[in-house]
């Protein structure tokens, strides 16, 4: 368990930060890669081993951090939507409708998409839950976060190793 504690702690933090609107806006894609970097730092501290870290180890820690962030991030997003009956989709609903209306396509094609968004928005407004929205959040997070975690883990491991080699 101790082995995975850094990943759980930093992944959880990234999952929480993912749903804080201002932080989300400021940090963009950096939350998960930075969490992966800190996972490596914590891993080294918990093992009291500050020597060079294997790239494979860094990548694994990053990937797992991304996975944990995806699970917690999705859970918090769905839970908050359930409680508040509001989320980003509802806030950007008008903007999305305008974007779709702008396309020079037959009204039938546009209606198909608009009806889909409308169904999701109505479901969230009334019950706080939409299966399509929840599934979409989970799948997207499970794909994107581990990739960004992996990148953060690789870059983090290389930066830590280059720092260490300067100290030697």
């Amino acid at each position: 368990m101790k082995k995975y504690l850094p990943v759980l702690v930093t992944g959880f933090a990234a999952g929480v930060l993912h749903i804080v609107p201002i932080v989300k806006g400021l940090t963009c894609c950096l939350v998960v890669p930075v969490a992966a970097y800190f996972a490596i730092v914590l891993y080294q501290k918990s093992n009291n081993n500050f020597e060079q870290i294997e790239l494979k180890k860094g990548a694994t820690l990053g990937l797992l951090t991304g996975l944990v962030a995806a699970i917690f991030g999705s859970f918090f997003d769905i839970a908050i939507t359930l409680i508040t009956k509001n989320n980003d989709i509802l806030n950007s609903f008008n903007q999305l409708t305008e974007t779709i209306d702008m396309f020079p396509f037959p009204q039938e094609t546009k209606d198909e998409v608009l009806n889909l968004i409308q169904a999701v928005a109505t479901s969230i407004r009334e019950t706080g839950f939409s299966l399509l929205y929840s599934a979409s959040i989970f799948v997207n997070n499970m794909i994107v976060n581990p990739i960004f975690g992996l990148i953060g883990g690789l870059v983090g491991a290389k930066i830590i190793n280059s720092k260490n080699s300067k100290l030697d």
């Binding site: 894609c29 094609t109 979409s136 280059s162």
Partner: protein
């Protein structure tokens, strides 16, 4: 590592980034394939995980916008350009120092714009993003190849 499997891996990387960049241009691509409009709301959410996507910071092509801001567009298209040159074998490895230096213009742009020294420039954001994205991808590619090499040895 066998050159063949390295090449396949690089083709996979290039293909993945190409797909990611196609997604960024979805509003433009949908022009040719109206039936793909249904994917737009899902893709918008997907890219909102990695970018604030503030409407005024999105890159415009006539009336259509990218799904990520100009800076992120630069980063991802910079990676695509690098992935292409890596496929051709025309690249040099990037050190940590160079990677950090390449991120300075982008962070300076973010800082100076945030402090109100100048208004947001799409072109400047795109260019600084391109610089970091292209060099950053070479840096990550090097690490990935080293891992594959290690796995092959074991």
């Amino acid at each position: 590592m066998h050159i063949f499997s390295k090449k396949i891996f690089e083709i996979f990387l290039f293909g993945s980034i190409l797909l990611w960049c196609i997604g960024i241009l979805w509003e433009v691509i949908v022009q040719q394939f109206p039936q793909l409009l249904i994917a737009l709301p899902f893709l918008k959410y997907n890219y909102s995980i990695v970018c604030h996507a503030e409407p005024e910071k999105l890159f415009h092509f006539e009336n259509y916008k990218t799904l990520v801001c100009s800076r992120c567009t630069g980063i991802y298209f910079g990676s695509l350009v690098s992935a292409f040159f890596i496929l051709l074998g025309k690249y040099k490895n990037v050190s940590t120092k160079v990677l950090i230096l390449s991120s300075v213009p982008m962070f300076l742009d973010v800082l100076l714009h945030s402090l109100g020294f100048y208004t947001y420039s799409h072109n400047l954001s795109l260019l600084t993003g391109l610089l970091l994205g292209s060099l950053g991808f070479i840096y990550i590619h090097d690490a990935l190849i080293k891992i594959l090499l290690e796995m092959k040895r074991n």
